[in-house]
């Protein structure tokens, strides 16, 4: 199944969202939080994101969702530095974090391929809540 990595400046935010997404997607999807900086404070850490991606990969690819600003730069920097071809299977998605995570996790739980999981997260951009 496609893995999901949740990158946030806040460890608690990423952790809480991973719990919510897991409740909705079931136990078979690997949903890995990568929140907070190297010092445990607010921020993002390339090393933390890297190990989260490795943990989320089950052979079907990984979708990475971010909260804001520098978290996206952190992931981009990491993926651009990937010269071994794994970048194709690790996809940074432009989507709202909460809705994108839930949509991606539920679609992944149906054992759908990476492209479909990416599309589901991207569709969250236009999804009305009310």
């Amino acid at each position: 199944m496609v893995g999901i990595v949740l990158v946030s400046h806040s460890a608690e935010l990423a952790q809480g969202l991973s719990e919510l997404a897991r409740q909705m997607a079931g136990p078979d999807v690997r949903i890995v939080p990568a929140g907070g900086g190297p010092d445990g404070r607010l921020g993002t850490s390339g090393d933390l994101v890297k190990s989260a991606i490795e943990c989320a990969e089950q052979g079907d690819g990984v979708v990475v969702l971010c909260d804001l600003g520098s978290s996206i730069l952190t992931v981009r920097h990491l993926l651009e530095g990937n010269g071994n071809g794994s970048g194709e299977r690790v996809r940074l998605v432009d989507a709202p974090l909460v809705e994108g995570a839930i949509a991606a996790a539920v679609v992944s739980s149906a054992a759908r391929p990476l492209d479909e999981v990416v599309s589901a997260a991207e569709e969250a951009r236009g999804a009305s809540k009310l």
Binding site: M24, G26, I102, A103, V106, S109, R112, A120
Partner: protein
Amino acid sequence: MAPASSEVEVQLPEGVALHARPASLFVRTAMTFQSRITVMAGDRVADAKSILKVLALGAGGGTRLSLAADGPDATAALAALADCVANLSD
């Protein structure tokens, strides 16, 4: 086999809204079928395979849902979804 379309009405159990976990069970059941499936609550309609759209229906416990499916496994899809809805719990 020619594609078939089919419709059914079901009712959410009292006290069980189509939110978080129940909604995801419903959507995950829908995703196991090829047919295009819609769910209607009142005058709102959603793609039954889209968790965000199903959540946005805001269907509360006891709400009547109209399910419609179009495709090769439409009948089986609606039977499975009707069973899923009847057995939802919070």
